[in-house]
């Protein structure tokens, strides 16, 4: 049990705990904050896996972008408590839980039977960002371009979708 393993277990536990928190908390803002910490733990794990550039991207994009976005929207529209529904709605969560356990068991069974060679600590040349940069902009330049187009389209689309109808009061003014 060396330091790496203890570190992994700690960070992993924190990650799982915050994930559970996202799913189970009653207040939406709490869920968002749990999600933020979850993303951070994942970034730490990326660093241990020699993917430093991606760890940075994770913090910037996910933690600093997406969670902020979600928080904004929660503030705008989503913080009222919602009533329970009867009928089929009552058993869907339990069905999901059962299926989830099943899936987890299956995946665990498969994973543990996979024959994997020991890890090389210097894989991916230590994971320095420059390596990733070279890879992205030489072999996969097309992907970068496409990602750019995708983001542009998503930007415009989101703008259009969220526009208020012409003659309606903005709900913001009611807050």
């Amino acid at each position: 049990m060396d330091f790496a393993m203890i570190f992994f277990i700690l960070v992993g536990a924190l990650s799982v705990a915050t994930a559970v928190g996202v799913v189970t908390s009653k207040v939406a803002v709490h869920s968002a904050l749990f999600l933020l910490v979850h993303f951070a733990t994942l970034a730490i794990l990326y660093v241990t896996l020699n993917a430093q550039f991606l760890a940075a991207t994770q913090i910037i994009v996910y933690a600093g972008g997406i969670v902020i976005l979600i928080l904004f929207v929660i503030m705008l529209i989503g913080s009222a408590p919602l009533e329970t529904r009867a009928g089929y709605r009552s058993w869907v969560p339990y069905a999901g839980l059962a299926l989830g356990v099943l899936m987890l068991a299956g995946m665990a069974m498969t994973i543990l039977q996979m024959p994997l060679t020991p890890l090389d600590p210097n894989a991916n040349q230590g994971g320095a960002p420059i390596i990733m940069g070279i890879e992205l902009y030489s072999q996969n330049i097309l992907l970068v371009q496409l990602a750019a187009v995708l983001l542009l389209v998503a930007l415009i689309g989101a703008l259009l979708l969220a526009r208020r109808p012409k003659n309606e009061e903005s709900p913001i003014s009611n807050l």
């Binding site: 089929y88 709605r89 869907v92 069905a95 999901g96 299926l99 989830g100 099943l102 899936m103 299956g106 995946m107 069974m109 498969t110």
Partner: protein, 629 residues
Amino acid sequence: MFESVWLLFALPAFGALIILFAGQWMSQKVVGWVASAAVAAAFLMSVLLFFSLTALPAEERSITITWWQWMTIGDFHVPAAVLIDPLSVTMAMVVTGVGALIHIYSIGYMDHEPRYQRFFFYLNFFILAMLTLVMSNNFLGMFVGWEGVGLASFLLIGFWFDKKDEMYGWYADCGKKAFIVNRIGDFGMILAMIMVWSTLGTVVFTELNEAAHHLAPATATIICLLLLLGATGKSAQIPLYVWLPDAMAGPTPVSALIHAATMVTAGVYMIIRTNMLWHLTTDAGLVTAWIGMLTALLAASIAIVQTDLKKILAYSTVSQLGFMIAAAGLAAYGAALFHLVTHAFFKALLFLAAGSVMHATHGILDINRLGGLRAKMPTTYRTFLIGAAALAGIPLMSGFFSKDAILVVELEKNIALYLVGAVTALLTAIYSFRAVFVTFHGQPRDQHVYDHVHESPGVMTIPLWILAVLSVVAGVINLPFVLTLDRWLEPVIGEHEKIPLVLELLGITISIVIAVLGVLIARSLYLTNEPWARRLTQPFSSLRKPAEQKWYVDEAYTFIVVSPIKAASGWFARVFDPRVIDGAVNSVGGVLSDAGEAVRKLQNGAIPAYALSIFLGVVVVMIYFIFAG
């Protein structure tokens, strides 16, 4: 000469086509004369064929003219071909000759008919179909003609399809009855044809002459009995004769042509034509003879109490056909054909004369309302008298010789049949002269009818006289001991048997006695009302009521056959078709519709349900890949 036999068919065909397409622009007289000319020209053609045949030696008198190969399926070959031999030429002459006379007669008879164009078209079509029947060289060609004359009969019986009266019901129903009853006979014929082909491999008559020797007697019996079924349908024998009396709903020329002279003789012709099969089985022949004679007796017993003139003649036709069928069954084909020819003449004559009476009385043929017509319609009276004399078998008339030929054969072969025949001949004489005396002699029973009666125009009476002359002299074609017709037919039917002299003379004597006795009985019963005749017929008076009701045969058929079939069809129409068939079809749609309804419920719009189904699918696929992939 024989190559131009196609003209024989083309002439009535062209006549029919001209009338069909151009008839609306031609006047009624022109249409009638065009049709008659076509058939008269066909008659000339058949006479030419006859003379050409006589020019040949007897062994060569069988010529096949093939026009094209009709069907070739594997080794099933059916040519569209014509067989010119003594039998077919004789039949063709009778059909076209009597047909031409009746066409001419119809010009006068149907002069008030608005649908005359249709009438003459149907008549020409009938002649064409009948010629196909008698001249074809194979079973299938003959069957085409068989069906064609059945169709013509249906169309012509129900010619006044919008008319309905007490005696016949809807005239259209009479046509339907004829067609449907004939169909039962056709079923027998088709089975016989199939059996012939499957056992002998050919349907051509000339080839069957050699091939027939390979038939086992039992098979031949079955085939011949099936052919007999077909003959009973077309020639109105027991059990399928019930359509002929109702066929009198058609116009009288139709009754004369189709139901006396030509179509109903198709069954007799067919038996003579297939004699090579009948030679192999005496059992079928005996059955045929008995059916013929019993029909003859039954029909004569009904005819003697009928009050409608045409119905008397109709039952008389059934009776005389019974004689012909019986002769054919006893292998006396020459005698059968002889009676066929003479019967064509005198029965057509009788029907046309009855038509003349009907034309004069504007449709009234109930003999209880007629009487004393001979003063006002002398030509009709004289020709009717000649026809009745021929029918009754008065000596030296044609009918005497032909009926006697049949009776003598029965005397030689089967005494029981002869006795039935003798009794029937007596009844025939009685009813034929009953018709004469009640209609034309005595006092008029309905003065109003009598006042309006007038003689028919020349276009109607000249055919009557021609047929009358033929009815008198036609006996010469097959006089006893001379037997011209039998010898003429030898290429077709083989050697004819010689009847012993004693039997011949005995038969002739008895026939003369029967004929004279019948006339005397009829005269004393219906004209002079003498007591001795009434005492003679007293024992039979209990049979009068059933005979008037036609021995309840129609009622029995209705009860046994028609009503159950109608009930079954009704059940099918009201219950089976809407519920089962429509139900099955509708429920296919219904099942699909309900399935769609059920599947539609899956689209409940609830996103968690969709998510659950996706998740479920993923888990299932994962499990599959873990355990089986």
